[in-house]
C-alpha cells in the first residue's frame, strides 16, 4: 500500500501547533514540584500507616517525621552520581557543610563544592550529567539552573535532540544555555571560557550574546568581549571531565552498548577493522564491573577480556581482532 495518501492528508492538515517554549519550561518545573509533592505525600502516608500499625508511640513519631514532607516536600533536582575526593554540600548559604556521597539526593537551593583534589558528577533531570572539576562551587538554583561561582562544570545533556532538557548555567560573566549536548563552562578570574564538544551553546549577558559550535572555544572577557578559537573534541582538554564520569554498569551489557558509552565519553567515533570484527563484537555480552575506572581505562579493561582489541587514535576507537 502506498503512503502517498497519508502524506497528502498530513500536509493538507498542516503541522500540529507546538506550545510556546516559555510556557513549556514554566509548566514543566511547576508540575515537577507538584509531582514531587504527590510522591512525598504518598511516602509520608505510607510511613504513617506503618507507624500506626506498630503502636501509638511509634505512630506519633512516624507522623512527626512525615509532616515536614507533606507540608514542605523537598524539591529534589537530581543525585550525586560520582565523587572522587571530598565533595561538600550545604543547604543554602546559612547551612552547614556536609559530605556529599554517591547517591545523595540534591535539592533546590543546595550548594556543592569540590576541594583542590576532588571532582564530582551530578545526574540531573532529563538525563543530564553535570560534572564538577576541582575547586568548583555551584548552587542549584532550580532544576534547570545552576549558578557557578568558581571552577568549571562539564555538561553532557545526552544524545543531541530537540527534546534535550533545558539547563541554564549562570556565571559571574553571563549565562549559558545548551542547544547541543557536551560542553565545558569554566569561570576565569577575568571572565569565562566555554568549550563546545558536541552540538551548540548560547552565551548571553545583558543584550549581548554569542553562539559556540562543536570544536570551538569562546573566551568571554569581563567587558563582554568574545574571542574565538578551535578546541579538539577529544584529547586532554576533556581529561578532567572523563575522570569525573559516573561509572557505567556493564553487567549483562552488550559490548556495542559499552563501546557507544566509551566513544561518547572520549569524544571518538567507532571504527571496526572488518565486518567480521563488527559481527563478533555484536555478539559479546559483558559481565563484571568497571566501577572506579575512567572511560579510557575501562575500555582497556573490558577489551582485555575479549578476543578483540581497541585502540584510541586520532578521535577514533579502532576495533580489531587480536592476532
Amino acid at each position: 500500500m502506498h503512503d502517498d495518501d497519508i502524506e497528502r492528508v498530513l500536509k493538507a492538515a498542516g503541522p500540529r501547533e507546538q506550545p510556546p517554549a516559555e510556557i513549556e519550561r514554566e509548566l514543566r518545573e511547576s508540575l515537577r514540584r507538584e509531582w514531587l509533592a504527590v510522591v512525598a505525600e504518598r511516602r509520608g502516608r505510607r510511613r504513617t500507616a506503618v507507624a500506626l500499625a506498630a503502636g501509638v508511640m511509634a505512630a506519633t513519631v512516624g507522623a512527626w517525621i512525615a509532616v515536614p514532607q507533606i507540608t514542605a516536600p523537598a524539591p529534589a533536582v537530581g543525585t550525586i552520581a560520582q565523587v572522587s575526593g571530598e565533595l561538600r554540600v550545604r543547604s543554602g548559604w546559612l547551612g552547614r557543610w556536609q559530605p556529599g556521597g554517591d547517591g545523595r539526593v540534591v535539592t533546590e537551593g543546595e550548594i556543592l563544592a569540590t576541594g583542590p583534589s576532588a571532582r564530582g558528577a551530578l545526574a540531573l533531570a532529563g538525563g543530564i550529567s553535570a560534572r564538577l572539576d576541582q575547586d568548583t562551587q555551584l548552587r542549584v538554583a532550580a532544576a534547570d539552573r545552576l549558578v557557578i561561582d568558581r571552577g568549571a562544570i562539564y555538561v553532557d545533556a545526552g544524545i543531541e535532540s530537540a527534546a534535550a532538557a533545558p539547563l541554564e548555567i549562570v556565571t559571574p560573566t553571563g549565562s549559558v544555555r545548551h542547544l547541543g549536548t557536551q560542553y565545558e563552562v569554566r569561570v576565569l578570574d577575568d571572565g569565562l571560557r566555554l568549550r563546545v564538544r558536541e552540538g551548540r551553546i548560547e552565551w548571553h549577558s545583558g543584550g549581548t550574546s554569542a553562539t559556540g559550535v562543536a570544536g570551538e572555544e569562546l573566551t568571554i572577557g569581563a567587558d563582554g568581549s568574545v574571542g574565538r578559537g578551535p578546541v579538539a573534541i577529544h584529547g586532554e582538554a576533556w581529561d578532567w571531565a572523563m575522570q569525573a564520569a559516573p561509572a557505567i554498569d556493564i553487567e549483562g551489557l552488550p559490548l556495542a552498548g559499552f563501546l557507544g558509552w566509551a566513544a561518547r565519553e572520549l569524544g571518538c567515533r567507532i571504527e571496526f577493522s572488518t565486518q567480521e570484527t563488527e559481527r563478533e563484537a555484536a555478539g559479546v555480552i559483558l559481565h563484571g564491573t568497571v566501577a572506579g575506572l575512567p572511560p579510557a581505562r575501562a575500555l582497556e579493561a573490558v577489551f582485555a577480556t575479549t578476543r578483540l582489541r581497541a585502540v584510541v587514535l586520532d578521535g577514533r576507537i579502532l576495533v580489531s581482532t587480536r592476532e
Binding site: 503512503d3 495518501d5 497519508i6 502524506e7 497528502r8 492528508v9 498530513l10 500536509k11 493538507a12 492538515a13 498542516g14 503541522p15 500540529r16 501547533e17 507546538q18 506550545p19 510556546p20 510556557i23 513549556e24 514554566e26 509548566l27 514543566r28 511547576s30 508540575l31 515537577r32 507538584e34 509531582w35 514531587l36 504527590v38 510522591v39 504518598r42 511516602r43 533531570a125 532529563g126 538525563g127 544524545i159 535532540s161 530537540a162 527534546a163 532538557a165
Partner: protein, 207 residues
Amino acid sequence: MDQDLPQDQELIRRMLAGDERAFESFFNAYFPRLYRFALPRLNGDVEATRDVVQATLAKAMRKMSDFRGESGLFTWVCQICRREVVDHIRARRRHTRNVVLIDDLPDVRRAIESIEAPEEYDLVRAHGRGEVARLVRSVLDRLPSNYGDALEWKYMEGRSVEEIGERLGIGTTAAQSLLARARAAFREALERVFGADAADIAGSLGA
C-alpha cells in the same frame, strides 16, 4: 483510540514511585497534546490555556492513583481538562461565547473516544476545511504515544527512518516497524472518525 493501556498503567506506577524519567515521559507525551486540546476550547487564549493545562495536569497527578484504566490515560486527562475549561470560563467570565468544537459534537466525540464512525455525516460540508484539518491534527494527538510525532517527522518534515530512530532512541528496524504501526493506526483512526479513507479526506481538503 488509546491503545496503550498497559503502558499507561506502568507509567503511572513508576511516576507514583518517584521515577524522574517517568515524570519526563508523562510531561513530554501529554503536555503538548493537552495544550492543543485546550487552546481551541479557550478561544485561542494562550494565558488561559496555560492556566487550564497546569490545573489539569496537577489534578491528574494528584488523582493518578485513582486511574483505573477504563479509558486511555489521555482520554482520562482530557475529561479532567473539559471540566477545568468549564470552571475557568465560569470563574473568569473572560470568554464571551462558549466554544463548541467539532470534536465535542456527540457523534465525533464518540468516534474519537470509542472508535465509532458517525454515519452519513459530511464533516467538510458542515464545518469547512479549516475545522476538518484541525480534526485531523486532533486525530494525530489521539494516536498512541510517538505515532503522531513519527508520522509528522516522516511525511511533513521529510526525515529519514534513521533520523526518526535516533530521535526516539530506538534502532532503524524498530523505527520502521513503529512507522508501519503508526500508518495503520492513523488510517484506521481516520476511517473511524471521518467514515472515509485517507485519500478521500486528502481530496476533500483540496490536496
